[in-house]
Symmetry: C2
Subunit: 280 residues, 2 copies
């Protein structure tokens, strides 16, 4: 089984040895409840680095609801088993007191990129992300960090934060991993009630069709009503957004007249699902 470290002192001692030997260190930051999406990040990290650390930390600061934090799946033993065949060097699974000790008072924010999409519906969420992620980068001393495109806005925000703070880490984006029916893998999928699972696949189906229409020159506003109706018909309770955004700035677009991304967030069976695809 992969060794689990719980303190940054133990982690630093390990990493210092690696760095001294000139080894390239990769990190895959996770909140646990690992699935094949995470494991694809691990595979990419193994290919690009000499040493790989998987972090497991359910970060309270990025949950904007106490019940969401409480319900979030915690499966450390199963996570360690899943990671075992991949040759990960260390699992770093600190407790909250190791990340936010008594007196902790600092927060990191990114403006602009965080303001729409999930940022509009989850107040404080991205501040929580951009406060914990630099800590994980600096605690692990990673040279490269692997993030999934499934959390596309998070990927842009983290990339901006790391560049802005001059953290010497390369952010490596990795493609979304999907179920056979297209559903993007997410730790939240296990919370979906059984009778909603089939409908969940409509999220990617709708996203793909709207993206195809946009690529053909269509205007988003003329597509979104029907797209939302189709999701509601499939059992979704609510569509938070279905937005076309410019790659890089995440500026809103109506037509895909430049590199763009179509992003969606919707609730199904009390679970918030997000997904996105490239357009054009």
């Amino acid at each position: 089984m992969t060794e689990i470290l719980r303190t940054r002192a133990a982690l630093r001692a390990r990493v210092t040895g690696w760095k001294r030997a000139g080894e390239v260190v990769g990190v895959v930051p996770t909140m646990g409840a690992l699935h094949a999406g995470h494991l694809s990040l691990v595979t990419a990290a193994k290919a690009g680095c000499d040493r790989v650390i998987v972090t497991i930390f359910v970060n309270p600061k990025q949950f904007n609801s106490a019940s969401d934090l409480e319900k979030y799946p915690r499966t450390e033993e199963a996570d360690a088993e899943k990671v075992a065949p991949y040759g990960v060097d260390v699992i770093y699974a600190p407790g909250p007191e190791e990340i936010y000790p008594e007196g902790f008072a600092t927060s990191v924010s990114v403006s602009g990129l965080t303001e729409g999409l999930c940022g509009a519906f989850r107040p404080g969420h991205f501040d929580g992300v951009t406060t914990v992620v630099p800590k994980l980068f600096l605690q692990t001393g990673a040279d490269k960090a692997y993030f999934g495109e499934k959390d596309y806005q998070q990927l842009q925000v983290v990339t901006r934060m790391a560049a802005d703070l001059d953290i010497p880490v390369e952010i490596v984006p990795c493609a979304t991993v999907r179920e056979a029916d297209g559903l993007a893998l997410s730790s939240r999928n296990v919370m979906l009630p059984a009778d909603t699972r089939r409908g969940a696949a409509e999220l990617y189906a709708v996203l793909s069709e709207v993206a195809a229409a946009l690529s053909g020159g269509a205007v988003l506003d003329e597509l979104s009503g029907a797209a939302e109706a189709r999701l509601i018909a499939a059992g979704f309770e609510k569509v938070e957004y279905l937005d076309l955004r410019a790659v890089g700035t995440l500026a809103p677009m109506q037509r895909a007249d430049g590199p763009a991304r179509l992003l969606v967030a919707a609730w199904l069976g009390g679970v918030r699902l997000i997904d996105n695809v490239a357009v054009g």
Copy 2:
């Protein structure tokens, strides 16, 4: 003369070589207009490190008034001459576009410690400090960073930020350097009108007397009226605060019934002066 680097790429290339050789790197972050206070930091850095970088960057984000930013002295040539005898390895003097390139969107804040004292009178000031300082730490890759106790609240805030973000740098506090009459050295002193210079010394005189009384068991509220009156009589236009704070938390105190610091900010000849002393 000491070599001046202007880009973080050039700086990183230099520091990488030092780190590879196992050398300990120290940084003295400054806004230029160097005086003997800065030079005492340089001396401490030389004693504690193999390599010393002095950074000179007038950080626009930490000025809460455009005119204050404009008036701030900029004396790079003279600064380089002053530093020359000290064996500093590199002066890093980036332009604003190197620190805040197009698209920069991140800010770092510390709560609690920043809320009173200068934080109450200079909105946004400490956010500016805690946004630029981690960048300077990470751009220089410094193992140790030297700060003067003259900016006592800043020292506490920077120490908190570096610990909270897990930046692997040791913050080394250095004692305030004073003129013969007690005036704490500050880059702002050159802006004092000639006829106010004598009165300026009253700031430290008053601070020392109040600190002595507090050490003897006095209560701050019973001393502050007379102390302020004495400063006004010496020509000060306004006393912003004269506060007793607990070491560590900066919690307000009335009696020095634990390790404490007495801090003052006051305006003289249109210049804002600050100072502080240990109590007890």
